[in-house]
């Protein structure tokens, strides 16, 4: 098996899923404006396409890009080769099969009915198996390492490899999926009501926190010194950042349910830890800026640097927005349930972590295939994605703030006939109609992003289109 071929396959699959999943997102976004469009057959309705968009992006695009990057980066940091390229290839096939099965089952309306955990349990087992196979491959690589020192990227990656299958299992209730009613075994979640909501957001938030965030930071820590040629600014900060995020992140899920019917103490715990998240975030950002010192001009020269640097800014912004707006009760009162939160989710996943993943592909691709994507395309890819993303997010944030403000505008009226106090608000439908221009702007921004990703895919697939590397020396 050719070196890095498993990594290459994961990257190509990832970008393919990126195009498919974001295109589903565009259809979903258009349905906010044309609700009857593609609504005649059940499998093209909003309720079926939305989970394909979300799960496709989470488990197709980001997760596969992360595995591709780890297969490339971890062996290099451990001064060895990937333990088994062959196992890597089979994992990639199995991963794609589980995603195709997910798309089919979600289209058919088979769902667990839980956000981020829609995929039904037989396919969940396949996905868990994928994560276990990746674990085996990378831990075997780890054991064959030819170095003493463990670079900070490795802590993030290997810790995430341990956490993620556990988060996935707890979130999907698969530790005890079988319930018995009247002697008949059936598969159902063991969680009920408000407890299920708490588990739902333990899972939802930690898939983000202990997989997308931590592997993403690990990748960025790998790419920064490689692209800038500078040594990492501070190892000690790296260590503080890692252990604080490892300790703090797990506790924050309940901030998705502020003022909800669940236990108040759990909400308060999540708020305290959400604010504490500012510590690891600051250490990471300080380390990034320190390492970039004197090399900011690379932003204008290397596509990988463009995506990496702006990705770090998006990461910074999303980690300020999360704790300070969504996770504080007085602000949550306004923005909860509005499109503000949708904008925030895209800032993290489409901003920070997608940017890190694209930077990784731009950096790794020449080393894997000997071919480099043209800088001209890299620039176009970056600016289309970035301008699209800004239009997309800012329109949702503004729309969301207006929604939230209007919902909170209430007056108290006294009904003289019954002598009863009555609370009157703005009719809900008016806040739906008000959103229309913002929904339009989301479509415009989204389409710009999607066009850029399709061209990205075609350029990666085209054998002769990207120019042959003349000298890899500078990058290696």
């Amino acid at each position: 098996m050719v070196k890095d071929s498993a990594s290459r396959n994961f990257f190509l699959s990832a970008v393919t899923w990126l195009c498919i999943a974001t295109s589903c997102g565009a259809i979903v976004a258009l349905k906010f404006i044309f609700p009857d469009w593609l609504g005649q057959s059940s499998w093209l309705t909003f309720g079926r396409l939305r989970p394909i968009h979300v799960n496709g992006v989470l488990f197709g695009w980001l997760s596969m890009a992360y595995v591709g990057a780890m297969f490339f980066m971890a062996p290099r940091l451990l001064k060895t080769n990937l333990w088994s390229e062959k196992l890597g290839h089979w994992t990639c096939h199995l991963w794609n099969i589980s995603l195709v099965l997910s798309v089919i089952s979600l289209s058919a309306g088979l769902t667990q009915g839980v956000e981020y955990a829609e995929i039904i349990w037989p396919i969940d087992i396949l996905i868990a198996l994928n994560f276990i196979l990746v674990n085996i491959n990378l831990w075997k690589t780890f054991m064959a390492r030819q170095c003493e020192h463990l670079y900070v990227s490795l802590w993030y990656m290997y810790a995430s490899l341990l956490w993620t299958p556990l988060v996935f299992l707890i979130g999907n209730g698969m530790l005890f999926p079988v319930t018995f009613t009247g002697g008949i075994a059936s598969v159902a979640t063991p969680y009920t009501g408000v407890n299920h909501a708490a588990v739902n957001w333990f899972y939802g938030h930690n898939v983000i926190g202990l997989w997308f965030t931590t592997v993403g930071i690990g990748m960025a820590y790998y790419l920064l010194p490689k692209i800038t040629g500078n040594a990492i600014y501070s190892h000690r900060l790296g260590m503080v950042g890692f252990w604080t995020i490892a300790f703090v992140y797990v506790w924050t899920g309940q901030h998705h349910l502020l003022y909800g019917p669940g236990p108040d103490w759990l909400e308060t715990v999540s708020i305290v830890f959400s604010i504490s998240l500012l510590i690891p975030v600051w250490t990471v950002i300080r380390n990034f800026w320190g390492t970039l010192k004197g090399k900011w001009h690379l932003f204008f020269e290397e596509p990988a640097a463009k995506f990496l640097i702006l990705g770090a800014w998006w990461y910074f912004l999303t980690c300020l927005q999360g704790p300070l707006s969504n996770a504080l009760r007085p602000v949550s009162k306004i923005v909860h349930f509005t499109n503000w939160v949708v904008g925030h989710a895209h800032l993290a996943l489409l901003g920070a972590f997608t940017y890190f993943s694209i930077a990784a592909i731009y950096y790794c691709w020449p080393h894997i295939t000997g071919r480099e994507l043209s800088k001209k395309f890299g620039s176009r890819h970056f600016w289309l994605t970035t301008v699209g993303l800004i239009i997309f997010m800012v329109s949702l944030w503004i729309g969301g703030l207006i929604q939230g403000t209007l919902w909170n505008y209430k007056r108290i009226e006294l009904d003289f006939a019954t002598d009863q106090v009555q609370v009157v608000g703005i009719p809900f439908i008016q806040t739906v109609i008000m959103m229309k221009p913002y929904y339009w702007l989301r479509v415009v921004g989204g389409l710009m992003i999607i066009i850029a990703q399709w061209e990205f895919l075609f350029r990666l697939l085209k054998k002769d289109g990207s120019k042959e590397m003349e000298s890899k020396g500078a990058l290696l």
Binding site: G39, R48, N195, P261, I412
Partner: protein
């Protein structure tokens, strides 16, 4: 940093958090007693609930009213929910599996839709052709459901009181 520290440290931090924020809430809230406002579902309503889940209604509709009350002509708590009826209680949901609290209000909250819209025919017509009942609505049409499915789904909506 040694591999032992990495594995031991990251797993014990994780375990500690799981004990506090997964196991404790499980013990505290998973088997709450029912009370007078607990959502009760007939067999037909449960069928409807499955359709509600299958068609992803829960993506756009929440089923939770955040706490509010009127104290001396002022709304205390979350004003946004003050016209949505009785604030939700954890015991309301003991029959809910999976939970459908929701995270987004693209459409209105449905925690008490069975009381505010109590006619089945209204719901069936609204599901078939939302814009004929609510001008400006962006809810998709569910005309592709069979008559029986529409009836089950409406039965479920009426049980949300």
């Amino acid at each position: 940093m040694t591999p032992k520290l990495l594995i031991g440290g990251s797993l014990s931090f994780f375990a500690l958090a799981v004990i506090v924020i997964v196991v404790l809430p499980y013990v505290q809230t998973n088997d709450l007693p029912a009370w007078e406002h607990t959502y009760q579902y007939s067999e037909k309503a449960l069928k409807g609930r499955k359709i509600y889940i299958r068609e992803g209604c829960w993506y756009c509709h929440t089923q939770q009213v955040r706490p509010w009350k009127v104290v001396e002509d002022k709304i205390v708590g979350v004003p946004a929910d003050a016209d949505l009826g009785r604030p939700s209680d954890p015991r309301d949901y003991v029959n809910d599996r999976p939970h459908l609290l929701g995270t987004e209000r693209t459409g209105p909250d449905l925690a008490h839709v069975g009381s505010t819209k109590s006619e089945k025919d209204w719901h069936i017509q609204h599901l078939k052709d939302p814009r004929s009942m609510v001008e400006g609505s962006i809810m998709p049409s569910f005309a592709f459901l069979t008559e029986e499915e529409l009836d089950d789904l409406s039965e479920y909506l009426l049980s949300l009181q």
